[in-house]
């Protein structure tokens, strides 16, 4: 699946990102290298302004690094043109957003199937039905986003991200706009997608509970990776966060 020796699906090497020029230039990333392991959940944590969102945007091809390289599924994406990037997104990338980003005029079903519709494809046999029942959306399919609760909307968004079976799913603060009970539910679903469908997930969050469901946790501060952890408890993560914030 990848050229990387250890089978990583997303590989970034010495990525820097500088915004602005001259005196007002800000370095959001100062040489970050990461490898995202397949069929695992990786959480990216860090205080505000640490560069965690920038890192995810660059890994997902939404933003271009000032220097360094990023590969997804063996393709170097920093040099791709818009059309090739779009094609890559269709085949390999799924997104889950903090504000759900559902299209208000489409029903839940239409929203879920939208990536396939856009690509002019049909859902694989049974996959859509399985997703919908696993996510508990079976009786919500004909509803518009405005008629759904926040948790239901995010479940529709997750289904939309998974319907193409992407190589990697990027989640940007997926619980940032939800109450704690619903957050737990959503995190559970994301974790199940890793365990049951072998989905690779990269998630940016500052919620320690969210990071606790990940197999790997990366800590960013001032544009560099300062710590890496394996699967950890909420307390361990909180402790490290405090440590990182203090430095």
């Amino acid at each position: 699946m990848s050229e990387s020796q250890n089978g990583a699906v997303v590989v970034a090497h010495d990525v820097t990102r500088r915004y602005g020029e001259g005196d007002t230039a800000v370095d959001a990333l100062r040489g970050v290298s990461v490898e995202i392991a397949p069929a695992k959940a990786t959480a990216v944590m860090g205080p505000s302004g640490s560069g965690k969102s920038t890192l995810m945007h660059i890994l997902a091809g939404l933003d271009k690094p000032t220097s360094g390289s990023v590969g997804i599924a063996g393709t170097e994406i920093t040099t791709l043109g818009d059309n090739d990037l779009t094609k890559l997104r269709r085949e390999h990338i799924g997104f889950v957003f903090q504000f759900f980003n559902l299209l208000p005029m489409l029903t839940a079903k239409e929203n879920i199937l939208l990536p396939l519709t856009i690509a002019g494809e049909k859902p694989e046999g049974g996959w859509f039905e399985q997703l919908v029942s696993d996510l508990g959306l079976a009786d919500r399919l004909s509803h518009r986003p405005a008629e759904l609760s926040g948790g239901q909307q995010q479940r529709v968004a997750i289904a939309r991200a998974l319907v193409t079976r992407p190589t990697v799913l990027f989640a940007d603060e997926p619980t940032g706009n939800l109450d704690s009970a619903t957050s737990a539910e959503i995190l559970e679903l994301l974790r199940r997608s890793v365990d049951e469908y072998a989905q690779t997930i990269v998630m940016v969050t500052h919620d320690a509970r969210a990071a606790a469901m990940a197999h790997h946790v990366l800590f960013l501060a001032d544009g560099t990776i300062v710590r890496e952890l394996g699967e950890s408890s909420q307390h361990e993560i909180l402790a490290i966060m405090e440590e990182v914030a203090a430095t």
Binding site: S53, H57, L62, D63, D82, N83, T86, K87, R89, R90, I93, G94, F95, F97, Q98, F99, N101, L103, P104, M105, L106, E110, L114, P115, T117, I118, A119, R160, T164, D172
Partner: protein
């Protein structure tokens, strides 16, 4: 993606509908124009077809060249002896001769001629009732016998004529009163607008029309086995000179030719205004789409993150436009049917009654109207669509994301802009100079070239540069069209049209830069003009409206409420009707207005004005586009008003010059001021006591140097009665033209290189070509020449023209203008109800009033584009309110009242309208100056009154446009507004 686009539209019904209105109106104008002109055409074709239906062939007098009706000369007559020769031909079954006249006035009970605008007053000899050549059916009475009259049903019923009653009729001689023998209509029942019809038996008609022993026409029916072509061949052998024969079908087509020409002119004229409305509509649509697309940034970005390509995004925007365009065009198509009815009534109201035999809906109408509406909508959406494709996927994760900069880098855009603009300009030049210019294809190609050029100008990364290029090209095209020599009329119009559109576009683009300054400047103007208008309508509208609402729904004791209600009803009963209508609406619908309203005030509110002003400045591009739509309409209205003011001023000057230091006291013209009238009228005036001298000016068409031109003829008395500026010659020329002399105007002399003493070969309608000598050259006044290019003596003229007509006559009287003299002249003209006695001032005013009715039509037609721009303002405001929901909620939360919210929106609206008005008026005056610089016969005059009216109208547009959006904004619940995501 299609479904996505459609669902998007369905989810934004109100916004979509508001956008669509801009197109609906333009398309309605197109379809209305076609329906109107097709219907008129059908009416005329049926009339002419019906008249000639039973004729296999028709003999008519043949003039040496084509004459237009109402020109003062008619086709020559021929001797009635021809009829017997025709009857003797072997192929002829039946033949009948007739005479006719297009100046047969029927006199109403009030002693005035029955006229309706420019519609002709036809008189003719009616074939004997049983004759197959008679297209008429008797409704009442019998066909007219000797010295009897029959008239058409419409004229009879509208004027209350009854059988046996004596009806006044006047053709060549003075009024005669003839008993009404019958009332008829066309067998098919069709009517001819304002045309009056009077029928007589042949000898009576010949006498009335001064055509004794003569015929205008012989209708022939062939024997059953003789085809029309063979009959024509037989007739041709016996034809005398100056006559011609045609088959019935050919004759019907020839009859219809002139009306067809007029109608195709009318069609082009109206379509031009439809084009203007659509152009304005394109601005409105481009603006609305730009706003909606900016608001949907996150939506587009999300689509990009889940794999939509740029092309798919563009496709979805274009698809939306296509659907909106199609729906709007269909709606416009049917609205056009109503509009056609309305136009019939409009023309009727201003005195040009048009014939109507039911509305005609041709497939061509459907195709052109739909195509125009859809194409304009889709084209207007291309640029906003490209902006949508420049939304990067990362915008999906940014909060409050706004549209990023332009898609291409500056240098590439500059080059691309220059390239595309250049291609458009080259294409345009090629199209205009190589194609005929008046065909559908060449106009279509010119429009395509224009669009390419505009697109090129829009591509420049600097708005100002693009605007300058567009304006520069526009003025270049305008100037070329105006000042280059040797261009035909259609090319001049095409160049001017393209130029004006380019200028509009450029000005619209550069307006963006001016918005912050203009908005600050207009804010106090808006504030105080709203205040002034508010104070003006307060006692008549605002107060009774409030009282009535208070009376119906207000709190308090019933005595106070009844009092309020009665008081309101007394002050303005119209408002009573409005309020009762609202009450009814409230009872039967879900509509729940707010009752009772606050006590109405008009005192301006500085704080809301300030917020409104800042709102109008915060998105200059949006304000500029919205204002530009109004700018276009006002520029055109101002252009028309300025030209009209110039024409009126110079015309007044010209008439003054003509009458200055002359002996003339009165002028005589037709009631409608322009139709030539029989010479007997002026001859009757000449016999009145106290008349010192009469000068007649005859008019008609002649042919000189292979061109048909208008000529005039004048009495020798002109030497004393008028004064001309002579380039070569003197006043004496007027008296000494004799039977072979003419004088000409300077322009005509220069065009044809003529000097005094030069021979001039003149062909008259009867076919005779005679040589005349140029005796003098005069300099026509700028306001329009009182004479044609060539002027004869009346003596020479009358020798060649049957039944000559006067365009006007001047009369000098003992004692100049006195009430007594006026009475004497009017009495002398009593037998000629179509003749009108006027003093110099009346003469000028009457001529100007003809101009005013043309102006009124232009204003009504241009009002359509102003209406489109009004909807543009409504649309922008609705979108803005939607976008600022949170903000308005916040303002309400910190204590802004509903009325203040409404005022804030209204203030923004009026500022926008005023900016559009200011730029439009300036541009209109500039365009008028340019045009006047070319057209030598108009001086510049500033139409102050009209401009004030236009500014007030713009303010009213601003106020009206704000009503609905302001209500929506005021209704927002502060809590929900803040929670709105």
């Amino acid at each position: 993606m299609t479904r996505f686009a459609l669902r998007g539209l369905a989810g934004r019904k109100l916004r979509t509908a508001l956008t669509a209105i801009a197109i609906v109106l333009g398309v309605a104008m197109i379809s209305g124009t076609y329906v109107l002109t097709d219907s008129i055409n059908q009416a005329f074709d049926r009339v002419f077809g019906e008249i000639r239906q039973t004729s296999s062939a028709v003999i008519t007098g043949k003039s040496a060249f084509d004459l237009s009706s109402g020109s003062g000369v008619t086709d020559p007559t021929f001797d009635e002896g021809l009829l017997q020769e025709v009857k003797a031909l072997p192929g002829v079954a039946e033949a009948e001769g007739s005479v006719d006249s297009d100046a047969t006035q029927i006199i109403g009970d009030n002693g005035k001629a029955i006229v309706s605008g420019g519609a002709p007053n036809l008189g003719f000899s009616i074939a004997n009732g049983a004759s197959r050549f008679n297209p008429l059916t008797l409704v009442e009475g019998s066909w007219p016998g000797p010295n009897e009259i029959a008239i058409d049903k419409k004229t009879a019923s509208e004027n209350g004529f009854e059988l046996g009653e004596e009806v006044g009729v006047q053709a060549e001689g003075p009024v005669e009163r003839l008993p009404l023998a019958g009332i008829f209509e066309f067998s098919s029942g069709l009517t001819l607008g304002g045309t009056t019809l009077a029928g007589f038996d042949l000898p009576t008609a010949q006498r009335l029309f001064n055509k004794v022993g003569k015929l205008d026409e012989i209708a022939i029916a062939s024997k059953p086995d003789v085809p029309p072509a063979e009959l024509v061949a037989q007739v041709e052998k016996i034809l005398p000179p100056a006559t011609q024969v045609k088959t019935g079908e050919q004759q019907a087509q020839a009859d219809a030719q002139e009306t067809n020409d007029f109608i195709s002119f009318l069609q082009t004229f109206l379509l031009a205004f439809a084009g203007i409305a659509l152009f304005v509509g394109a601005f409105v649509i481009a603006n609305s789409l730009s706003i909606t697309i900016a608001q949907r940034t996150r939506e587009f970005a999300t689509l990009r993150t889940i794999g939509a390509t740029n092309r798919q995004i563009l496709g979805s925007v274009l698809m939306e436009a296509l659907v909106v365009g199609a729906l709007a065009s269909v709606a416009g198509l049917f609205l056009g049917l109503l509009l056609a009815k309305g136009l019939f009534q409009l023309f009727d109201a201003v005195g040009f009654t048009l014939p109507n035999t039911g509305l005609v809906f041709e497939p061509r109408t459907v195709v052109v109207a739909l195509a125009a509406g859809i194409i304009v909508t889709v084209l207007a959406s291309v640029y906003p669509g490209f902006r949508a494709t420049s939304v990067p996927p990362i915008a999906a994760v940014r909060e409050g994301a706004s549209l990023p900069g332009e898609p291409l880098d500056r240098l590439r855009r500059t080059w691309l802009g220059a390239l595309v603009t250049g291609a458009g300009v080259l294409g345009g030049m090629l199209v205009v100079s190589t194609t005929p210019g008046n065909t559908f294809v060449s106009i279509f190609l010119a429009v395509v070239a224009l669009i390419v050029t505009l697109f090129g100008c829009a591509l420049f990364p600097s708005r100002t540069l693009g605007a300058i290029v567009s304006c520069g090209l526009g003025f270049a095209a305008l100037s070329y069209g105006l000042f280059a020599s040797g261009l035909g009329t259609t090319r001049v119009l095409l160049w001017m049209g393209l130029g004006v559109l380019l200028v509009f576009f450029g000005v619209a683009r550069v307006t963006t830069r001016l918005i912050p300054g203009l908005a600050s400047f207009m804010s106090p103007v808006a504030r105080w003009s709203i205040f002034a208008l508010g104070v003006l309508v307060w006692p008549f509208f605002t107060l009774p409206y409030w009282l009535l609402r208070r009376g119906v729904w207000g709190p308090g004791g019933s005595a106070a409420r009844v009092g309020a209600f009665l008081l309101g009803a007394v002050i303005n009963p119209v408002v009573l009707v409005v309020v009762l209508g609202m009450a009814l609406l409230k009872a039967v619908s879900r509509w729940r207005p707010e009752w009772p309203a606050e006590f109405p005030g008009v005192v301006p509110d500085a704080s809301t004005a300030r917020v409104g002003r800042e709102n109008s400045r915060r998105n200059p591009q949006r304000t500029a586009s919205t204002a530009s739509a109004l700018m276009i309409g006002l520029a055109l209205v101002t252009l028309v008003a300025t030209l009209a003011a110039g024409i009126v001023q110079t015309f007044r000057g010209a008439v003054d010059d003509l009458w200055k230091s002359s002996e003339s006291d009165y002028g005589i013209t037709a009631q409608n001021n322009f139709s030539p009238i029989p010479v007997d009228a002026a001859n009757a005036a000449a016999r009145a006591p106290g008349v010192v001298a009469v000068m007649n000016v005859r008019t008609g068409q002649i042919r000189v140097f292979d061109k048909t031109i208008f000529a005039t003829a004048v009495d020798p008395t002109a030497r004393e009665l008028i004064s001309l500026k002579w380039k070569d010659g003197s006043q004496d020329v007027l008296a000494n033209l004799g039977s072979d002399g003419v004088f000409i105007d300077d322009t005509y002399a220069k065009e044809n290189d003529l000097r005094v003493g030069a021979p001039l070969p003149v062909t008259f309608p009867d076919g005779a070509t005679l040589f005349f000598t140029v005796r003098g050259i005069f300099d026509p006044p700028t306001g329009g020449s009182p004479f044609g290019n060539v002027t004869f003596s009346t003596k020479a003229w009358d020798a060649r023209v049957e039944n000559p007509r006067n365009l006007y006559s001047f009369v000098a009287m003992k004692g100049d203008v006195t009430d007594e003299n006026t009475r004497v002249l009017e009495k002398a003209l009593a037998g000629f109800p179509n003749a009108k006695v006027q003093t110099r001032e009346q003469f000028i005013d009457n001529q100007i009033s003809a101009l005013n009715s043309v102006l009124n039509i232009l204003y009504v037609l241009l009002a359509l584009s102003v209406l489109v721009s009004l909807f543009g303002i409504v649309n922008t405001l609705v979108l803005t309110v939607f976008e600022r929901t949170r903000e308005i909620g916040m303002l309400r939360a910190i204590g802004m009242t509903r009325r203040q919210v409404r005022r804030m929106i209204r203030h923004e609206s009026v500022i926008t309208a005023l900016i559009g008005a200011a730029i439009g008026i300036v541009l209109g005056v500039v365009l008028a100056v340019l045009l006047i610089a070319r057209v030598e016969f108009i001086d510049f005059a500033f139409p102050t009154v009209q401009i004030v009216v236009f500014v007030v109208a713009a303010i009213v547009v601003g106020i009206v446009a704000a009503i609905f959006p302001a209500r929506r904004a005021a209704k927002l619940d502060p809590l929900q507004a803040i929670a709105y995501e």
